[in-house]
Symmetry: C2
Subunit: 425 residues, 2 copies
């Protein structure tokens, strides 16, 4: 009986576990510090109040309940001892024969960690509801503002980073200001809100070709989003963002600019790249420790073009499935060829009716691309119930321009500045 430990219940971990489920000869333990598997590609919809957290998150143990040889534990893993073949958690130390590390990635502020407080990233449910809290609180503040300056800074939203997440967020805020919220606020003109997307590189959605990237930029501008290219952010605080030599006064900044792999990889003491990803062999193992495998965002696997594969769900899913197959065959003494990524293409969405899809020779933009995007995301969403409900929610939102989950929750706050407390109205 081989003991397999999987750290991380994301796309890579869940898919590895499922394929090892009920396979004779394997005793699998999946450890995650959260109790839920998250459908990350739709997390921005939670931040933008289109979906509820439970719509895109499923308890990991529910997903794996049918497999008797799998134990699911919620715990923090602190350290891997690769030579001793153990991992240390807050609930004890566990031994393994094979270890699959799939701990994902987190945001990086490129050495400016003090920005995090003012510009949260979007990787977890807590971060999504925090962004939701900030965005909708800003609208409330604007409605209650006692002077034009306060109104303006609260109606200015800055998204840093022109990757898929940044584009989705900026597009959604633009769309909300233009359609959803305009009737709900009686004092303030929500349509006058400014949404600014900052990208340090020469174009947004850099993974796409120039034509599609340009199309996305135009679609964003139709939603009222100002796209600024080619200048890096140099300062963020509670009141403003400085980019190039421009100061943007704003109360709401969202960070979508850079990621690094999870911290646990560092405890292995092996080669990592600049993004803290672990450099893996052709079968996703570590050179020094052939019984330890890395999958998903945490792995630096060189693709066909000589560059590392991107941190995308399809890569993680395929790597997780590959590793399960590898272990099963290994035990049977069968050789497995190196991992090969089957690239089915990439896509990005901009607001409620536009997207860009690039599947090699098949490229499509606009509404048709948005329908493809919608179809594929619902298809892949875990769990039949969620699929059904997300579909219904979207149908409803699409028809009604609604944002059903516009809740401000979390922190107790007294958010108004001292200088707002003046004058009898």
């Amino acid at each position: 009986m081989k003991r397999v430990i999987i750290v991380g219940g994301g796309f890579a971990g869940i898919n590895a576990a499922k394929k090892l489920g009920n396979k004779p000869g394997f005793q699998v333990t999946l450890i995650d510090r959260r109790n839920h598997h998250l459908f990350q590609p739709l997390l921005y919809q939670v931040a933008m109040a289109g979906l509820s957290p439970a719509d895109i998150a499923t308890p990991i143990r529910r997903l794996l309940a049918q497999y008797d040889n799998i134990t699911v534990l919620m715990a923090n893993v602190d350290k891997v001892n690769p030579k001793e073949k153990t991992i240390e958690c807050d609930i004890g130390t566990y031994e393994f024969d094979y270890l699959i590390m799939a701990c994902g990635s987190r945001h990086t502020y490129f050495g400016n960690d003090q920005w995090e407080e003012f510009a949260p990233g979007l990787k977890t449910i807590n971060q999504a509801t925090e962004i939701r809290r900030r965005v909708f609180t800003a609208f409330e503040r604007a409605e209650a503002a006692q002077c034009e300056h306060q109104q303006r800074e609260n109606l200015t939203f800055v998204v840093v980073g022109g990757g898929p997440t940044g584009v989705e967020l900026a597009g959604s805020i633009g769309e909300m200001c233009k359609y959803t919220l305009s009737k709900d606020f009686h004092r303030v003109k929500v349509k006058n809100a400014r949404v600014i997307l900052l990208e340090a590189g020469p174009k947004i959605l850099a993974a796409f070709d120039d034509k599609q990237s340009e199309r996305a930029r135009k679609d964003l501008e139709k939603l009222g989003v100002e796209v600024r290219l080619g200048k890096a952010v140099t300062h963020i605080d509670n009141d403003k963002v400085i980019v190039g030599n421009e100061t943007i006064e704003t109360k709401t900044v969202i960070w979508g600019a850079g990621v690094v792999a999870g911290r646990l990889g560092g405890t292995l003491g092996v080669d990592q790249d600049r993004e803290k990803r672990i450099i893996v062999e052709s079968n996703l193992s570590i050179k020094e420790y052939p019984y330890i495998f890395i999958a998903g965002d945490q792995a630096n696997f060189t693709g066909k073009d000589g560059k590392p594969l991107p941190g995308m769900a399809p890569v993680a899913i395929q790597q997780g499935q590959y590793l399960a197959k590898l272990l099963i065959n290994k035990e049977k003494g069968i050789d497995v060829p190196p991992f090969k990524y089957l690239d089915k293409g990439k896509m990005a969405t901009i607001g409620r009716k536009s997207a860009i899809v690039d599947a090699g020779s098949f490229k499509v933009n606009g509404f048709m691309a948005w329908l493809i995007w919608l179809f594929i995301h619902i298809l892949y969403l875990s769990g039949f119930k969620n699929k059904l409900f997300v579909f219904a929610q979207w149908g409803w939102s699409y028809l009604s321009y609604g944002r059903g989950a516009r809740l401000i929750t979390g922190k107790k706050w007294r958010f108004y500045d001292k200088d707002m407390q003046n004058g009898v109205k």
Copy 2:
């Protein structure tokens, strides 16, 4: 133009506002410290992961968007100056001609505020998701436990208070242990969990007659809930509850035992009862200040039986509607008779297929009562979309025994005790 300020967007406040909406001669401002109206009777379903927060909460400004004479503000009200006819908020001071205070109630620990940390109450969305976090974390802890004692204390759930909320919570936990979760945990027998409902009085659901109360107790016991009557809790901490001379070792305590009215009422300087409710005249005004009205849980209004009306949604709804009518007629110089509560009955639910309904001469128990409970709650749930979705969620949960929203979110935690970190497994 009369300026009406409504403090509180609960059942009383929302209903008063709606009736004053687009009525000539009135300029209405509704202030709430939250942005959402909450359908409180179903809040326990959020705590028990049956529904998502957004299913039972709607943005207040959405509910009132169609009324041009209503401004909705999210703000904390600190003080009422009844003689000056002003209220002081964190966003400024506002003048009124009429004030409707409908600030609801909050939990009280009868002088033992130190218990709150260990035994949260259930009044807000944040509290509901906190209870959800604690309950489902306890199951996770039990699954990861390294000794029987830890397993047992994590699988013991104590609910304090045998009113409707306590009964709903205890019944739901019992039902989850018996049905929903048993397949998901492979190490621990969730069916062996203990659920204990503590009530200091001689019976649960004291507002009902002895026969119905007894029926509810039996239904709870069928779900595995131990009901303890007649003994008060004397101590609560992180590990245990002491009731009478018994010590119950537990990691999860939920408080549903007592409520007092919101703090703002105290700033008026008028008569309050022991539960901090303000004693009102027959038209819900305050004797000293006939232009200030109190509605909902915050009002002590003497009912037909000589006792104050209970803190229930129907009372709050009727009082809110009454006050709007009163003000409209007052401006026209028309006298309005005293407020009269039309008692349509009361109900309480126990788990997934039982309830008790008491509508005077019409009393019904069991599954039939549960269907009535279901129908009425969906009927009254605000907003067409929510109704539809809640109905669909329930249909699904009922058929699948599912708990779709089993997310552990909020706090970062390392929940395991020091003594769990031992031994290689």
